[in-house]
């Protein structure tokens, strides 16, 4: 089966805003240094890394929010890295993004129901009561109901807003969803609910998922494969079961051992006697 998404040799450099000078342009800083990723239809790929690794930028580049300087991105057989904006506009319906900050990605002046009917109306798929019905169906699919539809984003909890983000992404029956840190900042109990929801949606429909997260444990529980990023490069990639059981790269091992598990382990902090730490 051909890949749903396949990117090869992605290079991206963006202006370094911390070094803007009064004359001339800000110097470019290389953020993605030759990235190859692929995703089969219905597959879930986790992209993990620490801050500054380029994982969020990669997610945005795969949707051509940023245009890479080099490389190609083939989505559903079309090279979107080099296509015109108009050519990719229709493809965008089939590729959706969900963001970490559900508060700022939802219009604060619109009721939830209006937020969810908007895509149907905008794309001429349904209007009036039909659009309303569809929006309510979406709400139910993410575990909410009509009552939530009457509220404004600020009247919902963080977990409920994240469900709305998911509902909106599902509206256009996408083939691909890119989720960027969507459970960070949520309480563990809410995080567990959102993950359970994503799991059941994946089981129902053949949606490809790129799950970007700093949290390897969450990725382990939802993804089939994982790619570990550091400084704009993928240092290790493979099936989750393999990478977590036998990480090949030293950086992956360092990341895994730094995660505190909810199990008492007196050796975890590696403090014996008074051995000094390396100076940073």
């Amino acid at each position: 089966m051909p890949d749903l998404l396949s990117a090869t040799g992605l290079h991206l450099a963006l202006p370094d805003r911390t070094r803007t000078s009064l004359i001339g342009r800000a110097p470019l800083i290389e953020i993605l240094k030759g990235i190859d990723v692929s995703l089969a239809p219905g597959e879930a790929l986790g992209i993990v890394g620490e801050s500054g690794s380029g994982k969020s930028t990669l997610g945005r580049t795969l949707l051509r929010i940023y245009t890479p300087q080099q490389g190609c991105i083939v989505f559903d057989g079309v090279d979107i890295a080099n296509a015109s904006e108009t050519a990719i506009a229709s493809l965008r319906l089939r590729m959706q993004m969900i963001f970490q900050d559900s508060q700022s990605s939802l219009n604060p002046r619109q009721r939830i129901l209006d937020i969810l009917t908007a895509p149907f109306i905008a794309h001429g798929i349904a209007s009036g009561d039909r659009a309303r019905e569809r929006a309510i169906t979406l709400l139910e699919r993410v575990g909410l109901d009509t009552r939530h539809g009457q509220r404004y984003p600020h009247q919902l909890s963080g977990g409920q807003r994240q469900r709305i983000g998911i509902a909106r992404a599902l509206a256009m029956r996408p083939k691909l969803i890119i989720a960027d840190e969507i459970v960070s900042g949520l309480d563990v109990s809410v995080q567990a609910q959102i993950i359970a929801l994503l799991r059941s949606l994946r089981a129902e429909e053949n949606i490809g998922l790129i799950f970007i997260s700093h949290d390897l444990s969450v990725v382990r529980s939802i993804c089939d494969r994982v790619a570990v990023m550091r400084s704009g490069e993928i240092v290790e990639t493979g099936a989750c079961a393999d990478v977590f059981a036998t990480p090949q790269h030293a950086y992956t091992r360092a990341l895994l051992r730094a995660i505190p598990l909810p199990v008492v382990n007196p050796q975890w902090l590696q403090i014996d006697g008074s051995d000094p730490l390396p100076r940073t």
Binding site: D187, V188, S189, A192, D215, S217, P260, L261, V263, T280
Partner: protein, 291 residues
């Protein structure tokens, strides 16, 4: 002697004449040189406990009952001058955002020296020498350079090291650390947790470690208190709590925590009955108190 002994602490918000309790009779003790974890989800009141101890409650919140004994002395109702003397000197804080804890327009040197000169009464030269020593203690490799820098020139992890250096600078008896590693990358978090553990051991400091992360508690703390709805629902030795939690909410939180080692054991949503039962108990408690 017990460093911190919180007895039946009640805190309530008053907004437009309506009183909403946030802490409903918190009991918590910390022995010298021990790390006590205060763990719970958002809205549980864990941050409010730290704020009540240091007397930095929001304007519309006030302590309605209880005692906060620091080495036997009640901090509630302490004259402002005495409270200020205690804070910084005997009780220090480490917060989640190291960049906000530091003054953005002052060099690191100015900020550390201010504390050492005012609280420890050191002269400029002695304070500077002590500051270099402290930065070395928190594993900063180029202390001279860091002293000349401004907070924005340092990474989040480096800023947190500076904050830790300031917190330990007066060798306080108690440090209140509120989510000090939550904003940091996991490898940086590991180094900072390790640093806190080594310093508290070497200085014999008691630490109240406030966090949402059960993984951090399991690996760092001697004792743990689980907070929900403004009261401690379970308290005990860390090993006991993690091997045999007594309260169903504690076990549910553990089952909700992600586990990369055994994925099937983690990320189980907290059963709704457990939470609704807890809220029923809280409502009963509130009714009984207002009656």
């Amino acid at each position: 002697m017990t460093v911190l002994d919180i007895q039946d602490l009640h805190v309530a918000f008053t907004q437009r004449g309506r009183v909403t309790p946030v802490l409903r009779g918190v009991n918590l003790t910390i022995e010298p040189g021990r790390i006590c974890g205060l763990v719970g989800e958002s809205g549980g009141g864990k941050t409010m406990v730290g704020k009540a101890i240091t007397g930095i409650l929001p304007e519309d919140a006030r302590i309605t009952a209880g005692r906060i004994l620091f080495k036997g002395r009640n901090l509630i109702g302490l004259p402002e001058k005495e409270r200020r003397q205690l804070l910084g000197r005997s009780i220090a804080m480490i917060l989640q955002q190291p960049t906000t804890a530091l003054n953005p327009i002052l060099r690191i040197e100015t900020q550390i020296l201010e504390v050492l000169q005012r609280q420890m009464g050191l002269a400029h030269q002695a304070a500077r020498a002590r500051a270099l020593e402290l930065l070395d203690t928190v594993q900063i490799r180029a202390p001279e350079r860091v002293l000349r820098q401004y907070p924005h020139e340092l990474s989040g992890g480096m800023c947190q090291r500076v904050v830790i250096a300031i917190a330990f600078s007066c060798q306080p008896a108690l440090i209140i650390a509120d989510e000090p590693t939550t904003a940091l990358d996991v490898t940086v978090q590991f180094e900072i947790l390790r640093l806190i553990k080594i310093l508290q051991r070497d200085f014999g400091t008691a630490v109240l470690f406030i966090t949402h992360d059960l993984g951090v508690v399991a690996n760092l703390c001697d004792r743990v208190s689980v907070i929900f709805g403004g009261s401690i629902i379970e308290e005990g030795q860390t090993t006991d709590i993690f091997t045999a939690p007594k309260h169903p909410y504690t076990s549910a939180l553990m089952a909700a925590s992600p586990r990369h080692d055994q994925p099937e054991k983690g990320l189980h949503p907290v059963p709704a009955e457990i939470v609704s039962q807890l809220w029923r108990e809280i409502e009963e408690h509130d009714r009984a108190r207002s009656a």
